[in-house]
Amino acid sequence: MEDYIVEMRNITKRFPGIVANDDVTIQVKRSEVFALLGENGAGKSTLMSILFGLYEPDKGEIYIRGNKVRFRSSNDATAHNIGMVHQHFKLVDNYTVAENIVLGIEPMNRALGILPYVDIKTANREISLLSQKYGLEVNPTDKIEDLPVSVRQRVEILKMLYREADILIFDEPTAVLTPQEIEFLLKIIDEMRKSGKTIILITHKIEEIKKIADRCAILHRGKLVAVLDVESTSSQDMANMMVGRMVEFAAVKQPPRYRETVLEVEHLSVRNANKFEVVKDVSFKIRGGEIFAIAGVAGNGQGEIADAITGMIQPHSGTIKLCGKDISGLSIRQRVEAGLSYIPEDRQGTGLFLDFNLDQNLCLRKYYKKPFANQHILNFSELESYAGILIDKYDIRSAQGIKTSLRSMSGGNQQKAIIAREIEEHAKLIIFVQPTRGLDIGAIEYIHKQILAEREKGVAILLISLELDEIMNLADTIGVLYNGEFLKIADASTMTSHDVGRYMMGVKGQ
């Protein structure tokens, strides 16, 4: 019998309409990096939420250090030295770093021997020491709201370490980080392993597992597919097992066949609420059959360009022409009807009504037109049959078909629903903003194929992405945006990813 620090035996957890974990058994050894690999909705986060005491399993047992345990809340898990960094950080924005870390177990002191107060000075000192020990640099007195995402993540990690956790769960820790920050995080994880901590890493990025993990469990639709030794397994095998079929890593791209100009943006400037110019005098053209990709580090004005073209925000100056017609003065609906489709960055907040059913969400561009509406009365059977066709055509998976609430669907299928809806508009221009963010490789592969298929049809495509790989794989023309300006617009074949990366950092000219 090996020395397992964590054992989860025959865990089953159901949610309405879905079996999130179906009889899953995993065993984690002391001081190893154990990865959980799976697509979105495969049940990784649920399994770890059970281990962290957030859910109780419907069936199954948990053993920690050989003892059977039953967690009723995350406090029980913390008492067993288990810590978790959630995908969406759980921090109090207007508290300082130190206050967040000690929250709940504050070091107390008594003024004049009676009045209790939080000894924040001790806390600050302890946290400085802790952060130095693990190389996680933070300033204990900074407020969370002023900090970038990567530092907030460090705070979350310190929060676990401060509670003396030695089983650390990371839920998709790299999803929000830049490549350099990912490097740094993996190094930290490696050091924590060396110092004897056990780490469970939830991810769908195989290259990270290859870099850091010792063993890896693969989940597919709630079931455990395999537990593998990372070193002796190829990335391709892992990907196939995770998706449940063969996966093509790079999309096949035909040589471009450009048509006439579809989108013409001239001298576009956008100001934000503080009158600060976030897009400065930007001009570019997209032809039919061309994928124009805007590369850049997040927050350099990409989102504003897309919003200005679609009419979600009013530009300060400049003109936007679609097929030679000025659309700057049109309403959002008029622009859509003029031939513009938009896959927004924030799919849950902007692209979908999470409380509505799938069929209604699939018909958002059509519901008010004939035959879906007649004299202002909705025709539900038309809506439903149209939605049914889209679900089949785009392979959108959901628990209860067209009557599934969007909220209960996985991220990948939510995105598929948006893409199906927008592509079916047969627009002249489709704007994709971060179309694959947070999705697993199966869904990414699918969406890239859809984008390329639209290109073949002669649609003009504006692709805005933070993923350099995605841009290099898909783009015909690349524009690198820095500080609201294009530093470089060039044919994709003339640039390497290294060049693009340099422009992204603001390095001008050769």
Partner: protein, 398 residues
């Protein structure tokens, strides 16, 4: 016991009926809870419930005063039911579009006041006066609602803040005019308006008893079905729900959000205005100055109890109004302070808010039963389960 619970769970878990079965369970549980409270107070709960029904005309009383009968009570119940349904509908329309219209009381008051001032003291023919009262009510409430929507859209002023403020403004403004120009010397209330303008026919003889017949109840039920139709079937209703569900996505969809904000609050206010005229120019025919009716606030609770659906609002109004109208009679027969009606409303709300939890409990129980059946009682499934276990072992070790 276990069998009974399992049976109950299977009923509650049935998707076809859960919009009915869950509220019924909530109501039953609240009745049990209320009964316990009454028992603790040493009163007979059955007698109390009977008295509530007697007080609102659903059960004959032992004796009636001169010329009155059960129908008298029933019609007086319907008289107060009408504004309750309309006010609850007003809240529902705002709520579905994402707004919390607390201004129903103020909208009711302004509608009732204007209708009384313009029509109530005129000698217009009843055939013209009554529709005019209704139109003025809807217009007055609607305009106030539109103003709230305008503030929300143009200056992003939260509707809760603006409606509370407007409630006070209306209360004092109408109070000023009533005290200054329309005050009755004896009652200090507004001078009563003429029978021509009143939306209730008073002292009509039916089956030998005197009844006050409300026209408003027809209006209220019709309005509920119109609201239901708008939300369930029309493009406009779909767009209102969209704005209420996610304003950003509604904009993305191409809906003119600002226009919909104003229109939804206008309709909400217009319904509140109708509630106002059925209340002040129907159920009552006077206005007590500087007093907002509590009905405008109760309507919020009623709308939520009715799961913010228009038809649910009818049933919830029915239930709550029984307790509120019947409380006087109950208090005289059972000897409990009539304020217990508010306590009952509170308990009903509490349990109906737990509806989602009951549904979840039932669903979980049904799945546990399914699990046990899968493994234990079905030999075939057990074999399949065992086999898949073995296969998994191979995977892990192989």
């Amino acid at each position: 016991m276990k069998k009974v619970i399992n049976k109950l769970a299977s009923i509650l878990d049935d998707k076809r009926w859960d919009s009915v079965s869950i509220p019924i369970l909530s109501i039953l549980l609240s009745f049990i809870c209320i009964s316990i409270i009454l028992l603790v107070m040493g009163k007979d709960p059955l007698l109390a419930f009977k008295s509530f029904l007697q007080g609102s005309g659903f059960w004959p009383k032992e004796k009636y005063g001169g010329g009155n009968g059960m129908l008298t009570d029933l019609f007086s119940f319907l008289n107060i039911l009408a504004p309750m349904i309309l006010a609850a509908l007003g809240f529902v329309v705002g709520f579905k579009a994402g707004f919390f219209n607390i201004g129903i009381s103020g909208q009711m008051l302004s509608a009732g006041f204007l209708a009384a001032v313009i029509v109530g003291y005129s000698d217009l023919n009843a055939v013209i006066a009554k529709p005019l009262v209704i139109i003025i009510g809807a217009l007055a409430g609607g305009l106030l609602g539109a103003f709230v929507g305008f503030l929300k859209h143009k200056f992003n002023i939260h509707e809760v803040v603006s409606t509370i403020m407007i409630n006070y403004i209306i209360s004092y403004l109408t109070g000023f005019f009533i005290n200054g120009y329309y005050s009755d010397a004896i009652t200090r209330s507004m001078k009563i308006s003429g029978a021509n303008a009143r939306l209730t026919w008073t002292n009509v003889q039916i089956a030998g008893v005197k009844c006050n017949i409300p026209l408003g109840i027809v209006l209220a039920i019709a309005a509920a079905f119109v609201v239901k139709f708008i939300f369930d079937k029309t493009v406009f209703g779909f767009e209102l729900k969209a704005v209420g569900s996610n304003m950003r996505c509604a904009r993305y969809t191409g809906i003119n959000v600002g226009r919909h904000i104003v229109i939804s609050l206008t309709i909400s206010g217009a319904l509140a205005g109708l509630a106002g005229v059925t209340y002040y120019c129907g159920y009552l025919n006077t206005i007590v100055p500087r007093t907002l009716s509590s009905l405008g606030y109760d309507a919020i609770a009623v709308a939520l109890l009715g799961n913010s659906s228009p038809i649910g609002a009818i049933f919830a109004s029915f239930l709550i109004t029984i307790f509120q109208t019947g409380s006087n009679y109950m208090s005289s027969t059972v000897g409990v302070a009539k304020e217990i009606a508010s306590l009952i409303t509170g308990i009903l709300l509490l349990f109906s808010a737990c509806g989602g939890y009951f549904r979840y409990l039932a669903h979980r129980r049904m799945q546990r039963i399914q699990d046990e059946w899968d493994i234990k009682d079905n030999p075939l499934r057990k074999i399949i389960a065992d086999n898949s276990d073995e296969r998994k072992e191979e995977h892990i070790h192989g």
